[in-house]
Assembly symmetry: C3
Homo-oligomer: 118 residues x 3
């Protein structure tokens, strides 16, 4: 038995922001750095962060496979989607699911977890 | 670096219902078309939709890898499971997790997200 | 078209505890066997169970790709993390996301779902 080849990027004590295995990248849940802003601002920050993380591994938003979105308040669904539609590659949208959950801090309005191809 | 081969099916403005990469299919979260019915009816609709989506990519329920289930009310767990047990291939059950979350519309009682082999 | 090779371990009527496809293992959501204990005890039980399940397929915690954690009460975040930090391979942390959800039984304080390389 051989050991799988796994690449890890931006490791913290608790987690790796990105883990790559056999051409598939698993990103940790992303939240906005500036949590003082509303749902649109937090979504924009997260998607910009996703762009940067994907670029760092030679991927990009046209290679998204699955995106999991958690909203603290599901009534933010339409506002989140406006930012989402501005961002995604319209020719290459990922599979997606959005549900309501509270996150680690009360000021987190949205968290996004991405699986992408590399 | 070569671009990964990714197939997308049933694209909408926001998402693809199915994304396939390297023999693994990621489905978007599925909800019932007719949301006026109860948990059993919604579950039946979703699993029938899953059958159709899987068939469209040459897969089927015996090739499920992981199924994520969200229930609006976790007390629907047993009723959902009755429909689930009638549906799954008993020789080939997937890994599964079920938790409670609210979904995009208040009348959505269950949402299901599937990862399958193709 | 060939049928994908899928291995399933610890099958119950409803699910497989572990499903392996193309070098990737999907584990079902894990909960503590003894649910009478608090968040730390439940987390310890789950992570010990993960160790055993991973060992049974020739994997281990240094090969984790993605870990999804649900907490019944997100205020248990720090206590969960203490146990998590004691457990993980500090050189090989997975991608991770933690959100709040209720689980199938009210005494379940934490559920953990794992994707790992084999």
């Amino acid at each position: 038995m051989t050991t799988p080849v796994i690449q890890r990027y931006e490791k913290t004590a608790k987690l790796s922001r990105v883990v790559v295995h056999q051409g598939t990248a698993y990103l940790s849940g992303l939240t906005a750095a500036d949590k003082s802003v509303g749902i649109k601002g937090q979504t924009e920050q997260i998607l910009a962060r996703a762009d940067a993380l994907l670029a760092s591994i030679g991927s990009n938003k046209s290679q998204l496979l699955y995106v999991q979105i958690w909203l603290k308040d599901i009534s933010d669904f339409d506002a989140m989607n406006e930012v989402w539609l501005d961002w995604i590659d319209a020719d290459a949208p990922p599979a997606r699911a959005t549900v309501q959950s509270s996150m680690a801090l009360p000021e987190i309005l949205i968290e996004v977890q991405i699986v992408a191809a590399v």
